[in-house]
């Protein structure tokens, strides 16, 4: 901590944005791969949904997996975040984020399934 402070007062070696690890990690090929992977996955998901290629629950699973892969691809290729040492704060944020994500999505799912149980007529694909 005190080192960070010294760094701020003194040399300013870290002030050059080109030296940031995220910038060092970036490359044209990486951006292109990230773009390509996420575009392909989006097209696949859109096609599957618009052509009703599977029963609703199966579609839900497939597009969830597509979304998951594309999120990971974007985080890695576009934002240059991995779990290495210089990304320690991103890792910390991720660890803090996961319980919040699970809580909000999980509790929302729970409250709305309970709500639908009481208020909605049975819909196709719902149990």
């Amino acid at each position: 901590m005190s080192q960070a402070h010294h760094g701020h007062q003194g040399g300013h070696g870290h002030a050059d944005p080109i030296l940031h690890p995220e910038v060092q990690m970036s490359s044209g090929r990486g951006y292109f791969s990230g773009f390509l992977i996420s575009t392909l996955l989006m097209l696949i998901a859109t096609f599957l949904v618009s052509s009703h290629a599977a029963p609703p629950f199966g579609l839900l699973l497939v597009i969830t997996v597509c979304a998951g892969i594309s999120i990971i691809a974007q985080i890695y290729f576009l934002l240059h975040i991995d779990i290495s040492e210089h990304n320690i704060w991103n890792t910390v944020s991720l660890v803090a984020f996961i319980p919040l994500f699970v809580l909000t999505i999980g509790l929302t799912w729970w409250m709305f399934s309970q709500l639908y149980l009481r208020t909605m007529p049975p819909m196709p694909g719902m149990h």
Partner: protein
């Protein structure tokens, strides 16, 4: 156009037309004239005194965290006033429009506000009070105080800090523009689906509401990131985690909430925008939309948000009580844990805003229990404050009175909150003014803490104290207003009066509403007392000037540097020895020791880019509201270009040399000695007479010692 819009649209002006200017409105037209005259007067005065250069150099382009904080607070106070006027209008309408025999003017059947206008007033009141009064006031205080309390020169990202301020200012400007151009939303500050959908609210009001919220969310998120990085990375040597002043802990927990929750709001509003602009159906009643999903998403942000605003207020109270009790804060560690417990639980309780949705007993019980859990850490805090004051040498200064008022209101608001956490009671009083009285008690905790802090930290920022008599007068008037408005409101809530009534059908409620109107009059007097307070204090500023330690019993690090705080905060970065550094140095007789040697310091340059981007975000919000597509595109492109240009140019900063620093320090010390004679010798050789081994490392000629500080962690209880 992707959606059908009633009324005209043309490519040049979008939906903007002369008919959208409410020049025939008997309330808004005179107000507009007054605003224009006031604006002309201010511009004329600035020009007459030749202050444009000063304003530009010292304020509009500044990246100094203290000046940015002061501007945040000014925005907050101005919007607090606007929100208060909205509240006054609501109270007056309800005191007037009671029963079928009540008269009506200005086109209203009863009272003086038509239902559509009344809806806009309460929507604006809520949005302004939460996001444009409470939030900027608290962010302003965090901005000013946190870097000084941790011994930093500025925030981690000074330019980002300015950007956050100017985007917030753009949000404020956008909601003010809605007064005179078009209209504002009438769907409540949190918005109801599907009334905000384009079919039911075809005007621009909802768009104003939506983009104002988006801008404020963006500004607050940027501020939150900055504060978090500052606290984690910029602490002075020796400022270990458990020596952090408690206000810093409160800011840390609050900003973690802000950073994690604001995206939920932005997503929710983004989906509303998709509905209104692209014809999507996220929150419509049919076509696969779900009304309650909006409410759910909104409160996933909304509940953490209310703790985002209450936690810094708790931090302020925790700073004020010890100083005027002449004791260290009781239970520092439990205070920290309680802040983080509140922050954690804030993520588990949002359904209590819509218990009556009908999610069933299991869900309601879970959220009921989670909500009641909040009472435990809050109770810990209340008892800690009580034990801080217990057997202390209490001085009832104005700041202390405000903090005590906050404590009592917290008790009332907290206990009624416990009642509302019980679903059975919640079903009974849902949507009644009992709920309104409850959350006003809680938000008034913030207002009380903020006014306490204004008085408490004013001398640190400006170098002179506020007038005690007028500060106390304002306190008692404000408290009288609070009692007169909110006690009858609780009672009316029990009687079943629902919220947001523009016409009160039950004449039995009239006496209560009249008492509340009287309360508003008392509140108005307290506003006048505030103006007098400012006038009298500025008039007597020479008499009220203070030294570094304005209160004589101060505890944390910010009281070691000069008042007013120089732009570099500390001439030499202080070495922190104890949790209550100022108190520790005072106890060891080295509070006034000055550094023996100065070194060059590196400071960030001013920049107008943040101001330009803020102005452009206002243009973008305005263009989106009125659907002027070319202007949206132009302002967006301009923002992106400015950001790229600024990123390439960067900021090398500038150096304050040791000699300049020494000169400024000598002047500041000389000024301070005239006030209280407390400041020590500047820059002399040899160790001063210090009673005990001291650890003021920024002065190398003092004997270094490993003796643990007398008031280190754990020595408090």
């Amino acid at each position: 156009m992707l959606v059908d819009l009633p009324g005209g649209w043309n490519p040049l002006l979008g939906r903007l037309a002369w008919s959208q200017i409410p020049y025939d409105n008997p309330i808004l037209a005179p107000l507009f004239v007054a605003v224009v005259l006031g604006g002309i007067a201010i511009v004329a005065l600035i020009t007459y005194y030749g202050k444009w250069g000063y304003l530009w150099k010292e304020w509009l382009t500044t990246v100094d965290h203290k000046k940015l904080g002061v501007m945040y607070i000014i925005i907050g106070l101005v919007m607090l006033f606007r929100g208060f006027v909205d509240g006054m209008m609501i109270r007056t309408q309800q005191a007037w429009a009671v029963g079928p025999d009540s008269s009506g003017v200005f086109g209203a059947l009863h009272g003086y506000l038509t239902p559509f206008h009344y809806g806009q007033v309460y929507t604006a009141h809520g949005l302004i009070m939460i996001l444009l009064a409470a939030t900027p006031l608290l962010v302003g205080f965090m901005n000013i105080i946190v870097p000084i309390q941790i011994g930093a020169r500025d925030m981690a990202y000074p330019y980002l800090n300015a950007l956050g301020l100017w985007i917030t200012a753009a949000g404020a400007a956008l909601i003010m523009a809605s007064l005179f151009i078009g209209n504002f939303a009438h769907n409540g500050w949190f918005g109801y689906a599907p009334i905000f959908e384009i079919q039911y609210s075809p005007g621009v009001g909802v768009d104003y509401w939506m983009w104002t919220l988006q801008l404020l969310a963006l500004g607050t998120t940027l501020g939150g990131i900055n504060l978090l990085v500052t606290i984690i990375k910029m602490r002075a040597p020796g400022m270990t985690w458990f020596r952090l002043p408690i206000f810093v802990w409160a800011s840390l927990s609050a900003n973690i909430i802000a950073l994690t929750s604001f995206p939920a709001l932005q997503v929710a509003l983004g989906l509303v925008a998709a509905d209104r602009y692209l014809g999507a159906h996220f929150f419509t009643a049919g076509l696969g939309g779900n009304l309650m999903l909006y409410t759910n998403l909104f409160w996933i942000w909304g509940h953490p948000e209310v703790y985002f605003v209450i936690l810094p207020a708790f931090g302020m109270m925790s700073e004020i009580f010890p100083v005027f009790s002449e004791k260290p804060l009781f239970g520092y560690i439990t205070m920290v844990l309680a802040s983080f417990a509140i922050a954690g639980v804030s993520w588990l309780v949002w359904l209590h805003h819509f218990f009556t949705m009908g999610a069933g007993p299991d869900v309601n019980s879970f959220f009921s229990v989670a909500t009641m859990l909040v009472g435990i850490p809050t109770g810990v805090k209340v008892f800690n404050w009580a034990f801080t004051m217990y057997r202390g040498r209490l001085t009832f200064t104005a700041a202390m009175l405000w903090a005590l008022g906050a404590l009592f209101l917290l008790l009332i608001g907290g206990l009624t909150g416990m009642m509302l956490a019980i679903p059975a009671i919640n079903y009974m009083v849902h949507n009644s003014v009992f709920v309104i009285a409850h959350f006003h008690s809680m938000l008034l905790v913030i207002v009380y803490a903020v006014f306490g802090s204004v008085i408490f930290w004013f001398p640190k920022v400006f170098g002179f104290k506020l007038d005690e008599f007028w500060a106390k007068t304002m306190f008692w008037l404000f408290t009288g207003g609070t009692v007169l408005v909110f006690v009858p409101m609780y009672m009316l809530g029990f009687m079943g009066m629902t919220r947001r009534l523009d016409y009160v059908f039950n004449t039995n409620w009239h006496p209560y509403l009249l008492v509340m109107e009287g309360g508003i009059v008392v509140y108005t007097l307290s506003v006048f007392a505030f103006f007098v307070l400012l006038y009298v204090s500025i008039r007597d500023r020479v008499k009220n000037r203070v030294g570094a330690d304005a209160w004589g019993t101060s505890r944390s690090l910010e009281w070691l540097t000069h008042s007013p705080v120089p732009f570099y905060n500390f001439a030499v970065t202080p070495h922190v020895n104890a949790r209550d550094e100022a108190a520790w140095r005072r106890a060891n007789g080295i509070a006034a020791v000055q550094p023996a040697k100065y070194v060059d310091i590196h400071m960030p340059n001013n920049t107008p880019v943040a101001l330009y981007i803020g102005a452009l975000t206002f243009v973008l919000g305005f263009a989106l509201t009125w659907r002027i597509w070319w202007l949206c595109l132009a302002s967006l492109v301009a923002i992106i270009v400015l950001m790229i240009v600024r990123s390439y140019r960067g900021d090398p900063g500038y150096i304050v040399t040791a000699a300049e620093l020494e000169r400024m320090e000598r002047e500041a010390i000389a000024r301070e000695r005239q006030v209280d004679g407390s400041a020590g010798e500047p820059v002399v050789g040899g160790a001063p007479a210090v009673g005990r081994p001291a650890m003021a490392y920024e002065r190398s000629d003092l004997p270094k010692t490993s003796t643990p500080p007398s008031m280190g962690p754990g020595a408090h209880h």
